[in-house]
Structures are given as structure tokens and as C-alpha cells.
């Protein structure tokens, strides 16, 4: 299956930054812990952050039955989902060429609801594992009621593109000799501390999948 590089998903501005291969799109989606989903509500575009997970060629998101955004997904509603990873601050010699290094993905499609309990459970498992690999086997599994009060939606990754900016600033040749330091401040989303729930005994075994800090 090839992605359908429609005009609306194609990267037009800085087209050299556009990528359409699955490996690139999937790796960005898998590294990002949350996405932004846009839908139309009462004629205006709304956008909300939410957790997502990719399984094969589908991206899934979920929420409580009562959540507002799901009221907009009753019928054949369009949605666009975007994930963005910030990789660096690009300090050019010119103010004009300042930029960010980033990897982003945009997916357009019509979300479908996942109602099959086995399918739904496998998505919820993948979501927990996306937040913390190894965790599904070290927590209480969802009950039937919990599964019922959660709605899960999927969007096929048939209309998706990635856009990546990397590397040093791109200054005009005439600016290269200017006396301003130029380069990139690389950025990373890092685990900085593990804080145990104060309601729990500190004697409990710290699981091996927790970050070292």
C-alpha cells in the first residue's frame, strides 16, 4: 500500500522537507507521546491535544464517552491529526532565517469508531505501552465497564505526510561573514525525575522499565 499523496497532504512550502515513506511517518508518530486533533464543531475548527498510538497502518486515539470532541465524530466527519517533535532552536545570523528544527506528521481522514472489544483492548494495551513500554504487564487490566466507558477511534494512515527540518541555519551567502554566532541548540524531551505516588509504600519494588532518574 502506498500513501496517497494528495495535494492537500503534500508538503508545498519547503517541499524538500516533505517525506511520504512509512518508515519516516511511523517513527515520528511512535516517538511523539501526544497529538493534536482538529475537527469542525458548529462550523468552526477546533483542535485538542490527546494521546495517540500507531498500530500498523492506523493511528488511534481515545477518550471518555462524555468527552466533547467525540460528539463531533458521530457521522462521516473529517479530522486532521498532527504530531510534532521539537528537535532544536535554529539560530541564524539573520533574524529572518531563525527557525526550529522539528519532525512533524499530518494525517487527514475520517475517523471510525472501534467497537469490537478485542480490538479496543488491543488499542488500549498499545496506548499504555506507548506511554511506558513494559507497563501493560505490570498494572491492573481494564474491566469490561472501563472498556465500555472509553471510546476508541482510528484513522487509516492512507493520507499522511511528514515534514522535517534538520541541520544548521540556512543564511544567505552575503550574511555568512557576519560576526554573530550561528548554529543549533538541540532540544530533547527527557525524563527528569520519577515521583512515587505518596499514597504508596516506598518499599514497593521499582520496576526495571522506569527511567533511571
Amino acid at each position: 500500500m502506498d500513501p496517497n499523496i494528495s495535494s492537500r497532504i503534500r508538503v508545498h512550502r519547503h517541499s524538500e522537507r516533505g517525506h511520504y515513506d512509512f518508515n519516516t511517518i511511523y517513527s515520528i508518530m511512535d516517538e511523539a507521546l501526544y497529538c493534536h486533533i482538529a475537527v469542525i464543531r458548529d462550523g468552526v475548527p477546533v483542535v485538542l491535544p490527546t494521546l495517540h498510538v500507531r498500530i500498523e497502518d492506523q493511528v488511534y486515539f481515545h477518550g471518555a464517552v462524555a468527552a466533547g470532541i467525540f460528539k463531533d465524530l458521530k457521522e462521516e466527519a473529517h479530522a486532521t491529526l498532527s504530531v510534532t517533535l521539537l528537535d532544536g532552536l535554529v539560530l541564524a545570523r539573520s533574524a529572518y532565517n531563525h527557525s526550529l528544527n522539528y519532525r512533524s506528521v499530518v494525517v487527514m481522514g475520517t475517523p471510525y469508531e472501534v467497537t469490537d472489544v478485542r480490538h479496543k483492548t488491543s488499542v488500549l494495551k498499545a496506548m499504555v505501552e506507548h506511554v511506558m513500554p513494559g507497563r501493560w504487564n505490570d498494572c491492573r487490566r481494564p474491566t469490561d465497564v472501563e472498556i465500555k466507558t472509553t471510546r476508541v477511534f482510528g484513522i487509516p494512515l492512507t493520507e499522511a505526510s511528514a515534514k522535517i527540518r534538520s541541520g544548521p541555519p540556512l543564511d544567505d551567502v552575503s550574511d555568512l561573514s557576519l560576526p554573530f554566532w550561528a548554529g543549533v541548540v538541540n532540544m530533547k524531551q527527557l525524563a527528569v525525575e520519577c515521583v512515587q505516588d505518596p499514597q504508596q509504600s516506598p518499599d514497593i519494588k521499582v520496576p526495571p522499565y522506569l527511567p533511571a532518574k
Copy 2:
């Protein structure tokens, strides 16, 4: 000026996580380096990441005259802008109560174009300073042509809300004695390395505003 807490901007789901005061909304917008903007294009919602900056009670974003998203902002178009800061991975005893700690802001409004050159320049200055405080006085300022080929839009922060989840997992009382480690892995977007442009002499003075790493 009080924010207009309309129904569409109010936090309905987990309403206790909603915040409407300027200090909270502004501090989240100022810490975030980029936002996601949703507009309607050809009847479908599209969402794109872009740099933003807040000045007083306005949020601004910019882009090249040729950029696609600006074609959708010709008239009285609605837009929604969202910024999200990921603060932690919430590991509950139950799969169901796994979550993320985050601070997010949603702004709804009708973007207006900033065409006055002085106003536009002050926004571009604020954007550079948002990426790296201290940088505007240590780079080449934009030329008239560069300012002309950049479009700047603003949205008033009159319809904005913040949503914040913080603190430990919220497990059911009946789950509290389960033998699974519970807590939060705190996350932070950090500068990890400064990489000088290889086209520049390493003898150039490293500016004091660069992160230590």
C-alpha cells in the same frame, strides 16, 4: 478585560482542570515554543504546527507569503490555536487511569493580519526573543524586503482557556493496595547540545545567552 468564557472554550471534561486567568494562560503560551493552528480548508479541518509568540493580550504567528495556511485566512476565517506542554507520564495502578501530566491552552478567534511595518517588526523581534532571549540584539535585523515577504497574523486572547493535569495518578480506592509501582515520570523539554554552524569559524565568541551545554 476578562476572558469571555464561552461554552465552546470552557473546559467541560474534567472541568476542575480548567483555568481562565491570564497569568495561567500567558505562562503556558510563553513557555511553549510552538503551537498548532487549525483552520478550515475546502470544508475540512486542517492543523499545522508553527511558531507563535504572545505579546500582551494577543497571540501572533507568521509565515511566508507563499505558505498554504495563509490562503485560508483571507476573510473572516475562524481559527483555533492550541499549545501543549508535556510535564509527565502518569503511571496508575490501573491501565484505565494511566494519563499524562500536561498544561495546554486553546484559543479561538478570527485572525487579523498585521500590516503596519512597526507593529510587524515588533512581532518578529518578539518571535526571535521567544526562541532565544537576548538574540535580537545579536543578529542581523530583517530588511524591508524580508518584512514584506513575511505575513504576520494575530488573534486576541479574548476566548482562551487552559487545561492542566498535575500530580499523582488518581486510582480507585479499591486499587490502592495493588502491588504495582505508581507515580509520575516527570518530563521536560531540555537543551542538550549547542552545535555551531560548520560554515563558521570556531573562534567566534560564544554568546552568553546560549545554554551551558
